[in-house]
């Protein structure tokens, strides 16, 4: 049987920062500092991934022919 991947792990942040975050999330939908930190990190990581993927020449030709045949492009 395959060993299952651990779903969560621990990172360390300064206690002062932890306390600030704890204060900040009071009255919000976040129920823990971990939840908030995960949210912020996910947002940052996603931001870094926004770049365009190029088409190959072969793809372009094939796609262009079909789109033209269907009337999507002139």
């Amino acid at each position: 049987m395959k060993e299952k991947q651990k779903k969560f792990t621990t990172v360390s942040i300064p206690t002062a920062l932890f306390k600030k975050v704890e204060e900040r999330i009071k009255g919000t939908g976040f129920t823990s500092v971990s939840g908030y930190v995960t949210y912020v990190l996910r947002e940052i990581v996603a931001e870094e991934e926004k770049t365009e993927e190029p088409f190959t020449q072969e793809d372009e030709e094939r796609v262009k022919t079909r789109l033209r045949a269907l009337g999507y492009i002139d």
Partner: protein, 381 residues
């Protein structure tokens, strides 16, 4: 344009020149005949509609999706894409081997069977649909599934043929199309109904802030009483022709069996439209809902859990016709009392057509009404 979900558009379709050979290989393998819904899922995986999935998910991914609404690599993913078979069929299949998926006796895809596993139907239904009520179509469907799930990558041999293929574009095609049109920002609109003026105003309000609107009706098995696919497409054709700028609107279909999973499905719909190249996605009232299983804006709330989705939702509350304003408006813009409002109720519109009448032009464009009225029965039976 945003990168596809997970960074890379999946393309697992055999090239034309290799299809015959792949079909010959399929003929020698253990066969699994799949339903229309599973065949559609297979094609969607192969063409990148479900990127980053490259096949049907394994047990670990299923547990992740059900419990965390994410894949094991932390990517948002809310709807389990699984392939079920009977226990009897599963006995004939060996992990590590290839098998052939067939649809209507034609080879559909090759699949490398990575894992076969039992699953808990109750947990699957409760976590996906938020209920165990058998009146929910997703719960009934889950109960009727085979007891064993097959996991593994697939490679599509033959594309599915249907009556609406001229409207069917792959994510690679829509991405190219948007680029050709010079659109940098695109809002996706999911629909399973012919357009009334409320839909049109939602789309056009969003369009004001982006370069183009991508209207993407879901085509596939629906509930009894829903509008037929052909009616929806013809209605949109006439709406776009008469009321949209050609360079600002594109319509193509999404072959997919609605799960009616409400909030979870709303996230999933957004991911799919991100793969098509949309930068934004419209979420209205009771998105992908059925009956009263989900709160009217529960789908909108779930987006708060996904800051990393990579496709920001645009939330709308209901638009309505205000007799005093003399036009379509919404609660943020209209100061008049509810007595002056005519709500765009799909149920009422369906009832009007059922009686052989047409809705007033303040609710639906006359051209759209006329298209629908031409059908003696525009509804799924």
């Amino acid at each position: 344009m945003p990168r596809p979900h997970g960074g890379k558009l999946v393309n697992r379709v055999f090239k034309e020149k290799d299809r015959k050979n792949a079909a010959n290989v399929a003929a020698k393998l253990e066969k699994v005949e799949v339903s229309k819904a599973l065949a559609t899922d297979t094609e969607n995986i192969a063409k990148g509609v479900f990127s980053p999935l490259q096949g049907f998910i394994n047990q670990e991914e299923l547990e992740n999706v059900l419990n965390y609404k994410r894949l094991s690599n932390d990517l948002a993913w809310t709807i389990p894409i699984v392939l079920d078979v009977s226990e009897e069929k599963a006995k004939a299949l060996k992990e590590g081997n290839d098998l052939a998926l067939y649809f209507q006796n034609e080879p559909l895809a090759l699949m490398h069977l990575e894992e076969k596993y039992k699953f808990n139907k109750e947990e699957f239904a409760e976590k996906t649909y938020g209920t165990l009520d058998m009146a929910h179509p997703g719960v009934t469907k889950t109960k009727n599934m085979g007891n064993i799930l097959l996991a593994g990558k697939i490679d599509l041999i033959n594309e599915l043929k249907g009556p609406y293929d001229r409207y069917k574009l792959s994510p690679m095609e829509t991405r190219f199309l948007f680029k050709e049109k010079g659109w940098r920002t695109i809002v996706g609109f999911q629909t399973r109904n012919p357009p009334h003026l409320g839909h049109e105003y939602v789309q056009k309000t969003a369009l004001t802030f982006v370069d183009g609107v991508f209207i993407n009706p879901v085509i596939g098995r629906k509930k009894k009483g829903d509008f037929k696919d052909e009616v929806i497409l013809k209605a949109y054709d006439v709406l776009i022709e008469n009321y949209y700028l050609k360079d600002r609107a594109v319509m193509s279909i999404l072959p997919f069996e609605m799960r009616y999973a409400g909030p979870r499905e709303a996230i999933f719909h957004a991911i799919v439209r991100k793969n098509f190249g949309c930068t934004h996605f419209i979420i209205g009232r009771d998105h992908a809902g059925v009956g009263n299983y989900y709160g009217p804006y529960e789908a909108q709330e779930l987006f708060e859990e996904f800051p990393d989705l990579g496709i920001p939702p645009i939330f709308f509350k209901s638009f309505f016709y205000c007799k005093k304003c003399g036009g379509v408006t919404n609660e943020k813009a209209c100061p008049h009392s509810e007595k002056e409002h005519i709500i765009f109720s799909g149920t009422k519109i369906r009832a009007t057509f059922s009686k052989g009448e047409m809705p007033p032009k303040g609710l639906m464009r006359p051209e759209v009404s006329q298209v629908i009225a031409k059908y003696s029965n525009p509804f799924v039976e």
